[in-house]
């Protein structure tokens, strides 16, 4: 190929290259503050300070020593996972029905299902604390799960509605005619096609749940401590790189989880074919 041809190929790709440049800058912006957090977590110093002068793994050892951080992280993950699943169980059928409905009622129902997004968590938390205590659920995993599911449902509903609306009915029809039962259609056709919606909805639910201090606060007990509550409590008196280290551990867990998903289900549902 001649030089001009390769130059023109390049030129043709220019918009894509510009886009790539933008994306790189974007990620630089996104990761900039995080980089320092990760660096600090490997620091040797007693306090959180930058620049880091000497490196060590002492704060990771510290995590193993001082259990509440890791224990609550594990607890938070379980809670986040469970509430995301529960939210999907409630949210996906609702979203599928809403996406295809043409009735005016659907708008009202949609608004209602999304409403938990719009209330400050702290108010919802305190309201739920009193309500659930009154019905005897008190401070328990169940209560936390209910609270987190309430705020997770909107994410799943909304993302699934958006994705499902873009998908024609014809695939489901094709499956129906091939003898797939409603359940089979859902499992083999609808579910994979709305995979990106469910994935994003559940991902949002997990992320929000992991970070949900205001809601978790009211349901913290010796048995039900979530990470943000423990961190807040920890920071009340201490400001050391253990907090940076636990953040780094969370990122590693996310990376591993995504790799696992990639290996098993595949993340291709987040990109277009070809």
């Amino acid at each position: 190929m001649t030089a001009t041809a390769s130059w023109r190929r390049l030129e043709r790709r220019l918009p894509t290259l510009l886009l790539l440049a933008f994306v790189l800058i974007f990620f630089a912006f996104l990761l900039a503050p995080i980089v320092f957090v990760v660096l600090v977590s490997f620091g040797d110093s007693e306090i959180i300070a930058f620049p880091v002068t000497s490196y060590s793994l002492r704060w990771y050892h510290r995590l193993l020593e001082y259990r509440p951080l890791l224990d609550s992280l594990w607890f938070s993950l379980k809670l986040a996972g469970a509430s995301a699943v529960l939210a999907a169980l409630f949210g996906v059928p609702a979203a599928l029905a809403l996406a295809r409905s043409r009735s005016g009622l659907a708008d009202l129902v949609s608004t209602f299902l999304l409403a938990p997004l719009s209330i400050p968590m702290i108010l919802l938390g305190i309201a739920l604390l009193y309500k659930l205590s009154a019905i005897g659920l008190g401070i328990s995993f169940t209560s936390l799960l209910i609270a987190h599911t309430v705020v997770s449902i909107p994410y799943v509903v909304r993302t699934v509605v958006a994705v499902y609306r873009g998908i024609g009915r014809n695939y489901e029809e094709a499956a129906a005619i091939l003898g797939a039962s409603r359940r089979q259609i859902f499992t083999y056709v609808t579910l994979p096609l709305i995979g990106s919606g469910i994935f994003s909805g559940m991902l949002f639910a997990v992320l929000i749940s992991l970070d949900n201090l205001s809601l978790s606060l009211f349901f913290g007990s010796a048995q039900t401590n979530t990470l943000p509550v423990v961190m807040l409590s920890y920071l009340q008196n201490q400001f050391d790189p253990a907090i940076a280290a636990i953040g780094t551990v969370q990122m590693v867990i996310a990376l591993v989880a995504l790799l696992l998903i990639e290996r098993t289900v595949g993340l291709k549902f987040m990109s277009s074919p070809s």
């Binding site: 007693e46 509440p68 606060l217 009211f218 913290g220 010796a222 807040l232 920890y234 009340q236 050391d240």
Partner: protein
């Protein structure tokens, strides 16, 4: 058998080693420690007043005032807590007798030695020289619940000659400070350290224990002292929850026995309540004497808070 509250980290660890474990060994009763923050604990108890999930509050004074106001705690009965005999009178009179101080710290000025050679002697001097622009000062914003109302509003107001019922002097001064551009605000206790390290601020209101911990932890140029007429105290107090387990009394009493108190003092670097407690020499040097610290009228402040907050919001906005 018992549930007590705690803050995380060293606090919790020390609570376990100094109090919980010896207590469990001694009595055979089990003690759960619940991490969190005062607002959480108070509401949890308020939601289940008949069967409270917590038996003993180890909490900050504003949380304690709130718990008292909502009628969630019992008066501290000296008969059930014999070790109170070793606690000085003022420390037993807080929150109208519904709480006892376990330990206390005080707010003073933390500054960067590398930048400031001649720190202000008094609170008033601090305000004036900040206004003049001798340094960048870091002050807590209104939302730092356990600090601003006492260490800033009440303290400055007092230094400027105001009363609890009328905070217009401090508001006027704060406005001037805010507009001078020589002040930044922190809204999280740890943010102050970041601001000092990054050079955003050179001096500011901070807590003794945390300042010393930072210095010992590696922030070598950070120094701390109590400007005249003294540091503003912030005690950590113990409360007995109404309808909680009776074993709570036993535990509270244990909290004030000399040995655990010494252990506790060594661990968290604050002066403790019991006069029988032992301190390490270097800690003793830094510690505020009881007469070096000033006790704000916590109950009055709590009552005035709605007004204060609204005024501050509207006039200072930070």
């Amino acid at each position: 058998d018992l549930t007590v509250t705690a803050f995380g980290g060293v606090w919790e660890k020390s609570l376990r080693t100094c109090y919980v474990e010896p207590f469990q060994k001694k009595t055979g009763k089990t003690v759960d420690v619940v991490l969190g923050t005062p607002a959480q604990w108070v509401n949890q108890v308020a939601a289940n007043p008949a069967k409270p999930p917590i038996d003993v509050f180890l909490t900050l004074i504003d949380g304690a005032e709130d718990a008292k106001a909502r009628g969630l705690v019992e008066k501290i009965d000296p008969a059930k807590v014999p070790n109170l005999a070793d606690v000085p009178e003022p420390l037993r009179q807080v929150v109208g007798g519904d709480a006892v101080v376990l330990h206390y710290g005080a707010a003073g000025l933390a500054y960067n030695e590398a930048k400031i050679k001649n720190p202000p002697k008094t609170w008033a001097e601090f305000i004036e020289r900040t206004l003049k622009g001798e340094w960048q000062a870091a002050l807590p914003g209104i939302n730092v619940a356990s600090t601003t109302p006492t260490a800033v509003i009440w303290n400055f107001n007092d230094a400027l000659g105001g009363k609890v019922g009328d905070i217009s002097p401090v508001i006027a001064k704060m406005k001037a400070l805010r507009d001078s551009g020589n002040v930044i605000f922190w809204n999280d206790v740890n943010q102050f350290l970041t601001q000092m390290q990054s050079g955003e601020a050179d001096i500011g209101i901070y807590w003794d224990g945390r300042a010393w911990a930072a210095r010992d932890g590696g922030f070598k140029s950070l120094n701390f002292y109590y400007p005249a007429p003294g540091g503003v105290v912030s005690p950590t107090v113990v409360q007995k929850v109404k309808n909680g387990s009776p074993a709570a009394w036993e535990f509270i009493d244990f909290l004030f026995s000399p040995e655990p108190q010494s252990c506790w003092a060594a661990a968290i670097q604050y002066p403790v309540a019991s006069t029988k407690a032992q301190y390490k020499p270097e800690q003793k040097a830094r510690m505020p004497k009881l007469d070096e610290v000033r006790w704000p009228p916590f109950a009055e402040i709590l009552a005035a808070m709605p007004k204060w907050v609204e005024t501050w919001n509207k006039d200072i906005g930070r």
